[in-house]
């Protein structure tokens, strides 16, 4: 089957099978699982993953073709995105065959939901300074600590957990990666409300939670290199998504605003022009990155530039929109009140603007690194988190 044909078939399947409207939350999980099962049966789940572990064994070309078609639909697969984009690929790359056998197919078939457990209240940008401890006890590990910023944790069956297993070595060298059963006693999931009042994240508390050693991913104390694999996959899946769509429902977009404001005022018009310029500049940059990717040129750290620009644009849009619309924009029911409340999220999720600038400076421009004070000190002697 050639690529064009593959694409047509994918489109036809999507048209027939994607539910027109997203169902309400509670039921959504059942329907999402049901949809993933259909996707799997149709051969569109794990397109590039090896057949041995439940994938289709096809190439990036088919994957991109399907993704391009899928962009016109809203697939109800959000709760599987962490598993498919980050934790699944990590198990594939770094897990044992037994782990691959156990975890990958149920993920592709939509039977099990995954979350990722890296960040902590004291370890955000600096994930490797995390404090959650895993202590060996025979052929299992006992985990205590707290994680945060965990999406879909309240639905998750499994979590990919990074924990500290040695405090006597520098921080990057005492971490180990595990798969933890989210239904295990001692795992508490607490919803975390963001500043708009929505609960899209969770805090997770571990109280003497045990993990069998066979659920360890990679070697003991080699967890940081496993985490780097996961974060690489995360960056790939974020940068693939950056700037794609999203403006359609944005009340602060150029198209939405031009209808909402008085364009007979030249100053208002000029603000809209500025919004147009910035939106187009970023959209074209994203399209250029996508064209490069399709041509086989991997954008690498340049994706961080796109992410930084998106964070800035998101804030700028909501800010200028509320200025243009004026007093009514801050009424609770107004879409812009929600927009301005959510606007900082893009800058704070997936790496702050400062982290993005470091990445662009270090990896794109090749600038000399900041001197590091935390690479050689044993973890127990290191300043971490929040302290005077």
């Amino acid at each position: 089957m050639d690529l064009a044909e593959y694409r047509r078939a994918a489109r036809a399947w999507l048209q027939e099978n994607v539910p027109a409207d997203e169902p309400p939350e509670g039921d959504a999980i059942t329907r999402a699982k049901h949809f993933m099962a259909k996707l799997y049966d149709a051969g569109y789940s794990g397109i590039t993953w090896p057949k041995q572990w439940g994938g289709q064994g096809l190439t990036q070309a088919e994957e991109r073709a399907f993704a391009a078609e899928a962009r016109d639909f809203t697939l109800p697969t959000y709760v599987f995105s962490i598993g498919l984009g980050m934790t699944g690929p990590t198990v594939m790359d770094r897990g044992t065959d037994a782990q691959r056998e156990r975890f990958l197919r149920p993920l592709l078939r939509g039977e099990e939901i995954w979350c990722q457990l890296f960040s902590e209240p004291g370890a955000g940008s600096d994930v490797a300074s995390l404090q959650t401890r895993a202590v060996r006890d025979g052929d299992q590990w006992v985990v205590n600590g707290q994680k945060v910023w965990t999406s879909v944790a309240h639905h998750a069956d499994w979590g990919l957990l990074l924990a500290r297993t040695d405090v006597d070595v520098p921080k990057h060298k005492g971490l180990t990666m595990f798969v933890v059963d989210m239904h295990h006693p001692g795992v508490t999931v607490r919803p975390l409300k963001d500043m708009s009042g929505r609960a899209n994240f969770n805090e997770i508390f571990f109280d003497n939670v045990t993990i069998p050693d066979e659920h360890r991913v990679g070697e003991v104390n080699d967890g940081w290199s496993v985490a780097v694999t996961t974060l690489l996959h995360e960056r790939l899946s974020i940068s693939a998504g950056v700037g794609m769509g999203g403006q359609k429902d944005n009340p602060a977009s150029f198209e939405a605003l031009r209808k909402a404001v008085d364009t007979s005022d030249p100053l208002v018009r000029d603000q809209l022009v500025e919004l147009h310029i910035r939106s187009r500049a970023l959209a074209l940059f994203n399209q250029r990155l996508a064209q490069e990717t399709e041509a086989g040129l991997f954008p690498g750290a340049r994706g961080s530039a796109a992410k930084l620009l998106l964070a800035e644009l998101t804030l700028f849009q909501a800010d200028v929109a509320t200025q243009l619309v004026g007093p009514e924009s801050v009424l609770a029911g107004h879409p812009l009140a929600q927009a301005i409340s959510l606007a900082p999220g893009m800058a704070l999720g997936g790496g702050t603007n400062e982290i993005m600038r470091n990445i662009v400076g270090d990896r794109v421009l090749g600038l000399p690194p900041e001197p590091r004070v935390d690479k050689t000190v044993p973890f127990k002697d290191l300043k971490v988190g929040t302290q005077a």
Binding site: M195, G326, P344, E354, D374, T386
Partner: protein, 340 residues
């Protein structure tokens, strides 16, 4: 021109600040308007009567003093109708009314002010005001009403007959608004609408509150930058953070200078007031939001959570920025005053 605080003003600042620190700390702010705090604020500190003329039981102070107080209520994100009552008091000093001014000075009456006109016949008013600041908490609405004899200022009891109030939640969790519908609501005529000075003074008063909001936001993130560690170093030691905080400090210095100037102009130099007031809103409103925004962002992920206070400052800053209308009106006013 006086741009620095007198000793008395520094004492006023200190007393308001220390009162609010204990009586209305940030965790309490989320619970909203507390009448008991207001009673003490007005009773112990006499804040409600600060600018009420002495003959009505107030302290007869000017905007320079008021600005000091508002900076502190702003920094504390004080919930409730303090700013609204202050707005009304500013208007009432131009159409003095013994009952209202005395009531405000004694802390018995909370009030609010409408910039928009309603319709009146000298005894009753009718009309709809879409967004009245602290409209649910205020006892009295002061508003311009168009009558057959011209535009007059009237006072309407908001809990009285013919008034329907609908609470409006806004972005700013600490201070709500209300839709107020008046249909034959009894009113009292206070006098003809003053020609100038009210709107400019409101701009200055709001800018003083904004100055407090931005100062508190900057203080909060500076304090955090001194205790939060990333990669083994306090985040405030990174130039990426330090330089941004330095820029925020520069904005604060300029904003304070403008607020002092505008308050001085309101008290001492009427000819300069319109330009100073427009300058205050054009500069301080923007600077306040930018500082509150960057203070939130520099907190990192925790700043995005509901539990953290950062968003309270961010939202107050945005709500304040558009309180008097789209911010471009202040720039347009400046262009006009500069005869461009």
């Amino acid at each position: 021109m006086k741009l620095t605080l007198s000793q008395e003003q520094q004492q006023l600042r200190e007393s308001v600040r220390s009162f609010l620190r204990t009586a209305s700390p940030l965790p309490k702010v989320r619970q909203g308007y507390d009448r008991r705090v207001y009673a003490r604020l007005n009773g112990e500190l006499g804040l409600s009567g600060l600018i009420v003329p002495e003959e009505y039981g107030g302290a007869g102070a000017g905007l320079a003093d008021l600005a000091v107080a508002l900076e502190e209520t702003g920094a504390a994100l004080l919930p409730g109708p303090f700013l609204a009552t202050t707005f009304a008091a500013i208007a009432l000093t131009k159409v003095p009314d013994k009952e209202l001014l005395t009531g405000i000075a004694e802390g018995r009456i909370t009030a609010t002010l409408s910039g928009e006109e309603i319709a009146g016949d000298g005894a009753t008013v009718r009309g709809t005001l879409a967004q009245v600041l602290s409209g649910m908490e205020a006892d009295v609405l002061v508003a311009p009403a168009r009558t057959a004899g011209g535009v007059v200022m009237v006072a309407v009891e908001l809990a009285g007959p013919g008034v329907t109030r609908t609470a409006l939640e806004t972005l700013d969790l600490t201070r709500g608004q209300a839709q107020v519908v008046m249909d034959g609501a009894p009113c009292r005529v206070l006098g003809p609408q003053p020609e100038t000075g009210i709107g400019d003074r409101l701009c200055v008063a709001l800018a003083a509150e904004q100055l407090g909001v931005m100062r508190a936001a900057l203080d909060a993130i500076v304090a955090y930058a001194k205790i939060r560690v990333a990669f083994g170093r306090y985040i405030g030691s990174y130039q990426g953070v330090k330089h941004k905080l330095a820029d925020m400090h520069c904005k604060l210095e300029q904003a304070e200078s403008i607020v002092r100037y505008a308050a001085w102009a309101a008290d001492e130099s009427p000819a300069e007031l319109p330009g100073a007031a427009a300058l205050a809103q054009a500069y301080v409103g923007r600077a306040c939001f930018e500082v509150a925004r960057d203070h939130l962002l520099l907190h990192g992920g925790i700043g995005f959570t509901w539990e953290h206070d950062a968003h309270l400052f961010y939202k107050r800053a945005k709500a304040d920025e558009v309180l008097m209308g789209p911010p471009r009106i202040h720039r347009a006013r400046l262009a006009e005053l500069l005869e461009l």
